[in-house]
């Protein structure tokens, strides 16, 4: 069974600084997808960034980028120039492809301080 592990229950970053959230996963599949979702206090799940396992290039979306290490089964999220609005729970997630279930990690609560 696939598992997703987030070892940092909480992280804190100062506004305008950079923070990295860690995620590791376990799978026997060769093709799969990895995601980072943001859950603000409103509780809605918002997709931040996705990575296809067959792509070697790390995904980037504006201030958000990932470090995908397929051999190590590691998928970290880097947030640059952190903003107060980035404060939220961040969940790492995995699935095998279109229409398959998402398996989530336990989440990392990110605080952004002035």
């Amino acid at each position: 069974a696939q598992t997703v592990t987030q070892s940092q229950p909480e992280m804190s970053v100062q506004e305008a600084e950079t923070v990295t959230l860690s995620c590791t996963y376990d799978t026997s599949e060769s093709d799969y997808y990895l995601f980072w979702y943001k859950q603000p206090p409103s509780r809605q799940m918002i997709l931040v960034i996705r990575q296809e396992a067959y792509k070697q290039q790390n995904a980037t979306e504006n201030r958000f980028s990932v470090n995908f290490q397929k051999a190590a089964k590691s998928f970290s999220l880097k947030i640059s120039d952190s903003q107060l609005g980035d404060a939220a729970m961040y969940f790492c997630a995995y699935n095998r492809g279109t229409a398959s279930k998402l398996t989530f990690g336990t989440g990392t609560r990110l605080q952004v301080t002035l």
Partner: protein, 115 residues
């Protein structure tokens, strides 16, 4: 921008009662999902649905749960006889068929409180 909607936003019920949680997926999406999140815990998969059939379900999705797409727009989750441990946030999600990017779009959730 199209979005997934869910009603009600908060449902309070007595233990043993039936509840129906409603979702309207994005109109051109064909895959539908329910997830739940017990307060302070991770998001867990319940069930996926495609072509009017359950595609996959988790161990949580026992005989007390059912899903239905009663018309062309709604997607419902029914819990027949609620238990205290069913108290959670329930998220509906949908995705478009054949998309290489494979994104599931989530609704805002329904908070279910079982007393």
């Amino acid at each position: 921008e199209p979005e997934v909607t869910q009603t009600p936003s908060h449902q309070v019920t007595q233990m043993g009662q039936e509840v129906i949680l409603r979702c309207v997926p994005i109109s051109n999406h064909l895959y539908f999902y329910w997830y739940r999140q017990i307060l302070g815990q991770k998001v867990e998969f319940l069930v996926s649905f495609y072509n009017n059939e359950i595609s996959e379900k988790s161990e949580i999705f026992d005989d007390q749960f059912s899903v239905e797409r009663p018309d062309g727009s709604n997607f419902t989750l029914k819990i027949r006889s609620t238990k205290l441990e069913d108290s959670a946030m329930y998220f509906c999600a949908s995705s478009v068929a054949g998309a290489s990017y494979n994104e599931q779009f989530f609704g805002p959730g329904t908070r279910l409180t079982v007393l």
